[in-house]
C-alpha cells in the first residue's frame, strides 16, 4: 500500500514543476513586452542628399555649422576643397567646434582634438570624425546624409 504514495509524490512534483515553469514563462513574456514598451521603435532613416548652398558662401579656412534635421555637421572649406564632418565627437558624443587659429576641430567636453582631415590627433577620441560625402552640382553643394 505504501508504495502507491510515492507515485503521488512524483505526480505532485511534476505538476508543480509544470505550473512553475508556466508561470515563469508567463512572467518572462510579460516583462519582455514591458521592456519593449520602454524601448523606442527605431525609425529607419533613408539616405538623402540635402542642398547646403553655394561653395563661394563658405569663407576659406572656415567651417560652417549646420543642423540638417537634427544631424549636426560642419562644412569646412580649405585649399583642398570642401569637406563635411559630423560634429559628434567620437569619444562621448559632445559637439566639436572648428578652431580657425589652430586649424583643428576641438571638443570642449574632454579636450578631444581632430586635425582638418577629421583625424583624431589628441585627447580621448578613439577614431576620426565621421565624414559625409559632398556632391557638387554646378555652384551648389549637396551633402549626402547616410541612412543610420
Amino acid at each position: 500500500m505504501a508504495v502507491v504514495h510515492d507515485d503521488i509524490g512524483r505526480r505532485r512534483f511534476l505538476s508543480q514543476a509544470v505550473m512553475g515553469f508556466g508561470m515563469l514563462f508567463g512572467i518572462g513574456t510579460l516583462s519582455f513586452r514591458f521592456l519593449q514598451f520602454l524601448l523606442p521603435t527605431e525609425a529607419r532613416r533613408e539616405s538623402e542628399t540635402v542642398l547646403i548652398g553655394a561653395e563661394s558662401r563658405i569663407p576659406l579656412g572656415e567651417a560652417v555649422p549646420m543642423d540638417l534635421g537634427g544631424r549636426k555637421i560642419l562644412v569646412l572649406r580649405t585649399e583642398e576643397g570642401v569637406a563635411a564632418f559630423s560634429r559628434r565627437c567620437t569619444d562621448l558624443g559632445c559637439l566639436v567646434s572648428w578652431n580657425k587659429e589652430r586649424s583643428q576641430f576641438i571638443c570642449p567636453c574632454h579636450q578631444g582634438t581632430f586635425d582638418r582631415t577629421g583625424l583624431n590627433i589628441a585627447g580621448p577620441p578613439p577614431r576620426p570624425l565621421d565624414r559625409l560625402q559632398i556632391v557638387k552640382r554646378g555652384e551648389q553643394l549637396y551633402v549626402n546624409i547616410q541612412a543610420t
Binding site: 523606442p40 555649422p65 558624443g93 559632445c94 559637439l95 567646434s97 574632454h110 577620441p125
Partner: protein
Amino acid sequence: MASTVSENVKKEQDEKSWVDYIQKDLPQHLDWWPYTLGALPLTLFGLLVGTGLLLTFYYVPSPERAYESVDQITNEIYLGWFVRGLHKTSVDLMILFLFFHVIRVFITRAYRTPGELKWVSGSIVLFVTLAMGFTGYSLIFDNVSYWGMTVVTNMIGTLPVIGTPLLHLLRGGEEVSGVTLLRLYDLHTKLLPVLLGGLVLGHVVIVRLLGFAEVKGSRGFHSFYPEHTLKMGAIAAGLLLLIVNIVMIFPPLLGPPANVQEVASDVSPPWYFSAPFMWITLLPGPLALWSLLGFAGFFVVYPFLDRVLDERGWPMEIVNALVAAAVVCAMAGLMYLDTLM
C-alpha cells in the same frame, strides 16, 4: 478573580513595546565622532526626501520648461531658493559624509568577517546615491546637465552587449531628448529614491544583525534608546543648523540654459564627479571607462581580497592606510586639475 489579574500581568510582560524591537545596546565607541558618520547621511537622506518632494510641486520635466521652472523656484517662488539650497547642500554633504564613512570603515577594516555584507550593501548604497546625484543635476537642464546627460549615456552605450539597449532605454530614443529628461526625472523622483530607501534600510538592518565591528578599548555599552537616539538627534539638529548656514551664505546659483547647438567652454560636473570627469579626459575613451568600472568592481569585493591577502600575512592595516591615502590624493589631484581647466 485572582487568576485574571495574574494573567493580565503576564500579558503585559509578553507584550513588547515598539522600542524593544530596535532596542539593542550599542558599543561605547559609537560615541566617538568617526563612528557616527553613517548616521549623518541617513539624516540627510530624510532631509533630501522632504525638500525633494517640495521641489516636485514646481519643477516641470520638459526640455522647454525645465530650466525655466528651476529659475522660477530659485528666483520667484517664496523661499524657493531656500528649499532648493537645502536640497543641493544636503546632496553635497550626504556624498561627502558617505566618502568619509567609507574611508573610516576602510582604514579600520570594519568589513572583516563576518561583516563583508555590510561593506557590499553599503557600496551599493554609495553607487545609487551617486546615480541620484547625476539624475538630479541633469534635471536643471543647464549646459552641465545637457552635456552631462549626453556624455554619461554615451559611456553606458559603449558597454558591450547590454550597452546599446541600455542606451536606448535611458534616452528613450537614439538621441538625448525630452523623453530622456522625463526618464531621468522618473528615475530621480520615483525609482531611485524607493530603491535607495530600501537599500539604506537593508544596510542598517544588516549592520544591526551582523553586529558592529570590534574596536580595541571599547568595552562598555550604552542603550540605543534613549541614550544613543538623543545623541543622534542632537547631531542631526547641529547638522541642520550647519546646512541652513551654508544655504544662507551660499544660496543656490543657476548657470546659463542648455545650448544644444554648442558645447559651453566649461561643462565640469559637480565636485563628486570631478575626479572621474578628469580621468576620462586624460585617458583614451575605452581605457578610461574600463578602468572606472574595474575600480568600482574592485571596491565592492575589497573585503574578500583583504581576507585572502591577510591569510598570506600581508600587514593589511598599513596596506589599507596607504591605499586610502593614494586614492584620496589621486582624487584631490584630479579635482585640482579640473579647476585649472
